[in-house]
């Protein structure tokens, strides 16, 4: 799960064109709340011997995201934090996650469909490749039975029913079921749950493999989106269709 800048806050870039995380409050990515919820439901439906570990990579404040997951009902949390992680891209992130998941031990990894800030949606697939386990992504329904994870993926033209042997990775969509709110009891209980901190050396990762320098893309410049201009009104006086098409063509929409 990912700790993301609050989208309602005033977000800025730092000098190296990464998001200035000190400048804005963060929170657990809303799309990852669905992953926590599905993990909790799988646990509730499967039995007592399930342990849910919330895992995130991020700065010190990212612990807030873990605490949220713990207060919702996760059993323990792992926080990977290291100054050398700064600027790591999705591919580097998948390496760190894969190592941390292996170290923590797992049967099933549940993730959100994408982060609410980067919105790439590729990390679950990348991690599955690195771990060499099946990936069943973008599920709107998920369940586990006898060592098999089953799910439903709703596409534009078809609904697919998928299954895979554990261990496996799934990602769940915002259609998978509303995430619960932490209860007072859950919040108080979260205080007593363990949060384990690992750095890169704990995961046997060389700092040269990750970080801003190793990112496969680099940001050359960043600028604020220009203020929205007044819209163009097309009034139909016989030529409306043509005018509309011309406008769309001029904007390269058609």
């Amino acid at each position: 799960m990912k700790y993301v800048p609050d989208a309602t806050g005033d977000r800025h870039f730092a000098d190296d064109l990464t998001v200035d995380r000190d400048d804005v409050d963060g929170l657990l990515s809303e799309l990852d709340e669905y992953a926590v919820e599905q993990a909790l439901q799988i646990s509730e439906n499967t039995g007592d011997d399930v342990e849910i570990t919330a895992l995130t990579i991020g700065p010190e404040n990212a612990k807030d995201a873990l605490r949220k997951a713990l207060s919702m009902g996760a059993d323990k949390a792992v926080h990977v934090e290291d100054d050398d992680l700064h600027g790591t891209d999705a591919i580097g992130t998948s390496l760190v996650l894969a190592k941390a998941i292996e170290k923590a031990g797992y049967d099933l990894v549940v993730s959100g469909m994408a982060s609410t800030d980067g919105t790439m949606g590729v990390v679950p697939a990348l991690v599955a490749e690195r771990l060499g386990v099946p990936q069943v992504t973008l599920l709107s329904e998920v369940s586990v039975e006898d060592g098999t994870v089953k799910g439903r993926r709703d596409g534009d033209t078809a609904t697919e029913y998928l299954e895979a042997q554990l261990p496996a990775i799934v990602s769940v969509t915002d259609q998978s079921g509303e995430a619960r709110y932490p209860s007072f009891k859950g919040i108080m209980a979260a205080k007593k749950k363990p949060v384990i901190s690992w750095d890169l050396s704990d995961l046997d990762i060389d700092a040269k493999e990750i970080g801003l320098e190793q990112a496969h893309t680099s940001v050359e410049s960043a600028a604020q989106r220009p203020a929205r201009a007044t819209g163009t009104v097309v009034k139909d006086e016989g030529e409306g269709g043509k005018q509309l098409a011309e406008f769309l063509a001029s904007q390269k929409f058609i």
């Binding site: 605490r67 949220k68 207060s71 619960r180 709110y181 932490p182 209860s183 007072f184 009891k185 919040i187 108080m188 979260a190 205080k191």
Partner: protein, 383 residues
Amino acid sequence: MSQDFDLYRPSEEHNMLRDAIRSLAEAKIAPYAAAIDEEARFPQEALDALVANDLHAVHVPEEYGGAGADALATVIVIEEVARVCVSSSLIPAVNKLGSLPVILSGSEELKKKYMTPLAQGEGMFSYCLSEPDAGSDAAGMKTKAVRDGEDWILDGVKRWITNAGVSDYYTVMAVTDPTKRSKGISAFVVEKSDEGVSFGAPEKKLGIKGSPTREVYLDNVRIPADRMIGKEGTGFATAMQTLDHTRITIAAQALGVAQGALDYAKGYVQERKQFGKPIADFQGIQFMLADMAMKISAARALTYQAAAASERGDKDLTFQGAAAKCFASDVAMEVTTDAVQLLGGYGYTRDYPVERMMRDAKITQIYEGTNQVQRIVMARNLP
């Protein structure tokens, strides 16, 4: 500077609770607030959402299946619900008011019997002290309870009873010895299903229209003696002791509605343009917002301080509770009135929420003791 200096701020858990209840309130309670007011109907959506998330009566101790929230956590829950809908905030607030006499003075059996269903969301609690001719002078009540073998028979009329008809359980104060005035009053738990219990028509109110306020008629209601809360003659003391704690929940409502009004007005003044710029650019507007925020901040400090005193049972709780209730509710009235002013003509219409907030704020200056009574209480208990 030290980030670890933990005075004068709620704990991390309290802040997490606020985040949780705020998201819940904005998603599940706020969307219905206008309709609940307009239709003067019970906020069932809010009750369902609060029960589903175990937030309808957070004060109930864990040994009775409750969340075991401290007084500050309870204040935060009520504050955040009131921020979007004061009517709905009466659910956790009155559940505490109605049940606190049992928690403070009731027998273990009584606590088990009634706190458990309250915690489970199976029944709400109301508090029956006032009568048509006994408001500020509560000890002048006429409802009487007469012993008859193993039972008590209650007879009288209680007025201004919040959530009457919806609640399953009622804490009722009644005269058991008319010669002793306040020391001749006892407290009982009456159930909605007891024979002889009925309710008047809902009052037509200025605000908190979603919270039903009705008379409760007790027509020779026969209840077993073990429904008495505490000893005979201690009912008035229990009732007053309860108010010491629950006046702080009224402060919480006041704080919430004031914050809700400020938050709305703060957004509006940035959108609304006059003379070619947002009205937030005018210093006259800025001064109003600054005053509103300043008053809310002071009210919050006083309220949280009182909540901490309530949790610890500080000696000066009576003063603290009255001061918080009185100050926060006066602030709520001022801030919501200013919010209407900031929205101008729009604020005066029901298309915007601030006029509702202004109407809802008024009750916090009146119930659980008028602010004039609060000043009497404070003066008698000066620190």
